[in-house]
Subunit: 109 residues, 2 copies
DNA sequence: AAATAACATCGCAATATTACGATATTAAAT
DNA sequence: ATTTAATATCGTAATATTGCGATGTTATTT
């Protein structure tokens, strides 16, 4: 039904999957990468840089914002986007914890 | 249009996003977690464990298989699933590289 | 005040995802 | 040979995602 049955899973699994999901689109990775590259905040040369329509970029920015990974500050006519360091560090931590869960080497296949 | 314009992005961004995407569902994280927990391979107590329909679990397993993260070996009536260590280590590496890209602290917001 | 620039939001079309019942398929058990 | 157990696959419904043109909205510029 296109809807995830969240109640079946742990809170950790849900949080982690939301994080992975928002990172699961190349445009959003490109946006994050571009914001990171710049020393200062980026408004929207993103549209030129990435080559999707302005409406589409805006939508991806919204999803990144909703996930808390970026923040937008209004600066006159334009908006200054930057990565929310605190949230990002926390996200990295959660992902790293997941990645570093030791894996028993399966010997059967 | 529901279709990702892959040609717009780098190969790295596309590979990474595919990885994140497959990890972006709690059921798949639960499946991976469960396979990891067990010392030996798991067939399908997954359906009991996770509480989704057998067809649904099978579908998620397929996606994990397509991403290369797990392998299934037929063992009589049942199938033995385990994590593909090589692919998994590589995936972790790719993700870690992404996570550890240094972030310039944005000073503007 | 009117024009413009930089977004955000709306509405829509195309496609993808999630979930599941029903129905294969395959191998072991009877 | 038939039954049963363990899956995989098919078909379908509900919903979500991706993308974009058109249209707001808001602040600067003229």
């Amino acid at each position: 039904m296109g809807i995830t049955k969240k109640e079946r899973f742990t809170e950790e699994q849900n949080r982690l999957s939301v994080l992975f999901k928002v990172l699961g689109h190349p445009a959003r990775l490109a946006i994050l990468g571009y914001i990171q590259q710049q020393n200062s905040c980026i408004c929207t040369s993103l549209v030129d840089e990435i080559g999707l329509a302005q409406a589409t970029i805006s939508q991806h920015l919204k999803e990144l914002k909703q996930a808390g990974l970026i923040r937008g500050t209004i600066e006159g006519k334009s908006v200054c986007y930057c990565i929310d360091e605190e949230v990002w560090v926390n996200a990295k931590d959660i992902i790293n914890t997941f990645l570093n869960q030791t894996i028993q080497l399966n010997t059967c296949c």
